[in-house]
Symmetry: C2
Subunit: 658 residues, 2 copies
């Protein structure tokens, strides 16, 4: 096998493919006048070797459920990934590559899941991809427990850089991966010793081997990324390991550039002279977007031939699944709900009072009985957030059918891992206190970017937490979540609305946050699970000329209804609107929206959270909201301090009506 | 020395004090009917020993600048801390302790900086306190470089638990502490093997020694927290170490309770029977809030005697400072600005164009020349956010006068470390891209809770980032920051406003976020540094009956002014308002606010960010904002896609006027 563009015959074929990928990658960056050449030139051999010799994929079906996953945690290496996918024979053309980083391209600035065939996750914010891969590896194990290792049996590979390993989330996720014994997780660490600003040792001098072995990982070192044999041996060893493995592969950032080994080559296009000189060194023709078709064919052929038998035998295994499992697997593949959400059973306590977090726990358990694709856990707050599936095991390598994940006090990793689970076709839930949703936010944003059906369960949702005080009392968190694109936020007012919220969330297959209260509230006669699908609805209708509309959510719905009682006693004609989801309400037609609200000047808001959520519907002086930090005290005292009493609300509204 | 309440004479005096602290702590929790007895009973000996035998403090001046710091990272151990402070002789009475977790108490649910004498940081969100302590330790070194080790020479002690060590931020901060060689940082790890939900080994099985040594720490083990000698030896060793030290102290959560060693004793009050039985075991009288005054006096006396000479010799050193240094130290102590902000020098480029991030870099450098209390850095984005102080060293143990901190790609730790620096009386800055402010949010919230003058510098502030695409394009971040209580957010429109923002921020001594653009914008004739102190002001006044008000911020101010030009060409009478800070504007009197805006129905918003920020001032259909994720493409194409062109804005406004 000789490639026509080589003047250096003694390097391996893999290295020749890698060099073509290098050339393509820097051409893409040059053409876009934007991008990150350092990793393209530095890590090309790692990814080439992985695709050529290891990755189990079906190029005709890039979403094959049993493919090995490859997650480019160093998402700024997008050009490297796209060039590799093109060379491997994925559904990408040279013309596509020429649109790199241009508007509406299928090869955007950072990898985007769902947009580009062969891209297994959206990455870019460092550390997140690595943590997501932990979820993908858990998902593999869990799905294997459901469908057998003939149907599900894949490795999860990650390419990460120094930056990924500095982010806190990488430690969180890797610590958990080690604890859970995720031996089919293999991290390829592009160890180049350089970051955007500096040489790495200006900010980071950990002993990586000691760090990872302290977390129950297997550590391997490859001293030169172009040493194909060493890299293959390491990957083979990793596959046999009983622990997750990190392979530290020493590379030179921007290798072959005049600025190789320096931060200069990290994130800006190379000069024309440098490109010419690099291509010269690599034996490539100095014409943009020129690749060796031989190299491409050879690469493609390696991948196809190596996987042919695996694909066939998988198809056999798939066909021999029983009907139940086949149906279930189709749900996994197509991200469908494997149950009818009409039959949620919930038994209200005799006194008609229940905290929404407690209702959520019951409903979640009820649903989980029928829906095996639900798996999740909490950041060490399951007993408080009521988010544990009863009668199942805790997930670990000994119990891969376990459905409760003890995430530990690792919020951001919990979110990213949940993204990984959803990428496998599962429906994950992740829970903690709402005040700590801040810690998860980077992961939540990625759920939304990837449009994954992750259910975030946040309890202890306001100052009515009470004694724990301001560090534990969310204020700005609700509006932060509501302002996040593509996230549906639900704050149900009572048991009926919790049930409705679950139905909506699970049927919509979108990222969602379910915001729950700590305290018992009345289950109202006037609330309704069904109405949650409209986002907002009238709970108490005015009986006469409308004097005021009170909009409330969550625990404050009870308060609003109490204030309503006081106001109608005085003869006022009041409407009470429950608005469990602003996002869902905003998707209704304008007529419906007008019917429910429609009179801004008469609208009052009752929600113990930032006003910023509500200016769309009401004026600044019509808000029973809170824009300062909370306070430590009994629930009653704290609510009273901030004006959340029925008397205060009724009285203030009365003033306005008069 | 015999305490009257002991029936067990053979335990050490320190243990007897610790037992009194235990009794008080569980009484406080019982009285509040809320709190965390597990750590009170488990870790009492650690803290007692530390205060009795090590901590350098002045009980008459709990804010003494040269005191050793103690940060209770496990903030749920507040009862333990308060009981210890009371017993030590801080300004707390038994009556105060009886108000634990009640409204307006000075001993709230979690420790709050500024509220309770002897509390050195607000803690509660796990991991944050530990990371803050890294900042306090850096601050000690830096202040030592300014004032000599006769004036500044203290240790920073931390009590942390398993939960702290699971949080990503703890790794980030400890990795940096090891890299920087912060040898005066001593972490006492309350190692009890139990978390809220479970036994620790359900979610965490790291080798702590290996983990910390991999990060260049010194690790010591004390097998029994009640072994006074072993604990003292370990702390003494730690003081002599050339590295930061973690002392793992084995404890039993809820020791002496019937539920000791289990999660049951973590976070809920104990039963009356349990309290009685514990007090029996400890030889305490079973009357709530009864302590041995002998024990209290003995403890107090130990602390006073041990520190007497240190305080005197510090006073001497302080008095022998030269005038310049004395003045500067007073600024540190009183958190005052050591310079006149009137003379900021900024030279505009000849073409009258400059990116606000670039202006910020110049202004920051100009200010840093005169203000030695400014220290900070970025999360590996200094070259992009332009937040490096020129002509100074990078901070580390060899260069403790260095003013640039290479935080590495560790955003959340960067925020918490900045909090620590501010707690030392410094004025820290911390920078990264706005999209990644999500990663810092938990630390920003604590800046705000503690009211610390931390300056967050966030550049690359909108979709006009362009090619890097949606993962790097902030949308919801601005409103998240604006909704955070006590944070002033500034988004200046050009160089003049950047200067004004710096003045305001540094003079106000409050937490602030400075939001900066990536791209060159015109320096306008009509903008004004001085007006920034009003938050918003008129940049272009209507010349006739008002047709429309355009409110803009940041890079979009230029766009708004371009649209203005198009509209006045057509004869419309338009007002343009620049609003660099909503928070500052909201603090102006109502008359001024009315004068600037005043006509909601005529107000249009131009800001390439979530609409949620703006409904207060304008209606939903008057927003040139963005509520979906961005896109990857050239700046121009991306702005065009989302309607951010002067033509589109002018045209849409014209439609409304008609």
């Amino acid at each position: 096998m000789v490639f026509d563009n080589k003047n250096n015959e003694d390097i391996s074929l893999i290295n020749k493919i890698a060099n073509n990928i290098r050339g393509l990658g820097i051409d893409m960056i040059d053409n876009a006048n934007s991008g990150h050449p350092g990793i393209v030139l530095g890590a090309a051999n790692i990814i080439t070797n992985l695709y050529a010799n290891h990755l189990k994929v079906d190029l005709n079906n890039s979403n094959w459920i049993n493919r090995d996953r490859f997650i480019m945690s160093a998402g700024h290496g997008s050009a490297l990934l796209y060039a590799t996918l093109f060379m491997a024979g994925y559904n990408l053309s040279l013309e596509d590559l020429k649109t790199f980083r241009k508007l509406d391209s299928i090869v955007p600035g950072h990898p985007e899941y769902g947009l580009t065939s062969g891209v297994d996750a959206t990455t870019g914010p460092l550390g997140e991809g690595l943590a997501t891969s932990v979820g993908v590896a858990i998902g593999e194990s869990y799905l294997r427990s459901l469908f057998s290792d003939k149907v599900i049996d894949y490795y999860t590979y990650v390419l990460c850089g120094d930056g990924d390993l500095m982010e806190g989330i990488s430690y969180e996720a890797c610590s958990l991966a080690g604890k859970l014994g995720l031996n089919k997780l293999i991290v390829l660490y592009d160890s180049n010793g350089v970051t955007l600003d500096n040489k790495l040792d200006k900010s980071f001098n950990e002993n990586i081997e000691a760090r990872f072995t302290s977390m129950n990982w297997n550590y391997l070192l490859v001293n030169d990324s172009e040493d194909e044999l060493a890299l293959n041996n390491a990957i083979n060893k990793a596959k046999e390991s009983s622990k997750p493995t990190i392979i530290e592969v020493k590379t030179t950032i921007g290798k072959y550039s005049v600025n190789e080994g320096t931060p200069k080559v990290h994130g800006a296009p190379l000069s024309k002279e440098d490109i010419t000189s690099i291509k010269e060194k690599l034996g490539l023709r100095d014409i943009p977007f020129t690749v060796s078709l031989d190299a491409k064919d050879y690469f493609n052929n390696l991948i196809v031939e190596r996987n042919k038998e695996k694909i066939t035998s998988w198809e056999e295994a798939y066909n021999s699944l029983n009907e139940e499992n086949k149906t279930l697997l189709e749900k996994v593949i197509n991200n469908k709900l494997p149950m009818d959400m009409g039959n949620v059973v919930y038994e209200a306590p005799e006194d008609g009072m229940d905290a929404t977090r407690s209702v959520s726990g019951k409903v979640l358990n009820n649903i989980a009985l029928e829906n095996k694709l639900i798996i999740g856990g909490s950041a060490d707050t399951a007993s408080s957030t009521k988010s544990k599936i009863n009668n199942t095991l805790d997930f670990d390598s000994e119990n891969i059918g376990g459905r409760n994940i003890n995430f530990g006090i690792r919020e951001n990793a919990m979110a990213a891992i949940s993204n990984g689970l959803a990428l496998c076709g599962l429906t994950p839930f992740a829970s903690t206190f709402l005040a700590f949703s801040d810690f998860l936010k980077p992961g939540i944003r990625l759920s939304c970017l990837m449009d994954l059906p992750v259910l975030y369960i946040f309890s202890h949702d306001s100052i009515s937490v009470g004694e724990d005080g301001p560090t534990h009392e969310p204020i700005e968190q609700l509006v932060s979540l509501r302002a996040t694109p593509n996230l549906d936020v639900y704050r149900p007012g009572d048991a009926n609305e919790v049930i409705g919220a679950y139905r909506n969330i699970l049927m919509n297959r979108k990222p969602a946050a379910l915001i729950l209260g700590r305290n018992k509230v009345r289950i109202e006669d006037s609330t309704n699970a069904k109405e949650v699908e409209k986002g907002a609805y009238i709970v108490k209708k005015e009986f006469d000329k409308l004097d005021a509309i009170i909009v409330a959510t969550g625990e404050e719905l009870e308060l609003a209804l109490d204030a309503y009682d006081l106001l109608i006693e005085k003869g006022y004609s009041i409407r009470v609107v429950s608005m469990p989801s602003i996002e869902v309400f905003e998707r209704q037609d304008k007529n419906y929206q007008e019917e429910i609200l429609g009179s801004r000047d008469k609208t009052f808001i009752v929600e113990a959270s930032s006003s910023y959520s509500w200016y769309k519907y009401a004026n600044q002086d019509h808000m029973f909201t809170i824009d300062t930090f909370g306070a430590s005290g009994s629930r009653k005292d704290v609510l009273n301090k901030f004006g959340f009493t029925k008397e205060n609300i009724a009285q203030e509204i009365e003033k306005f009506i008069k």
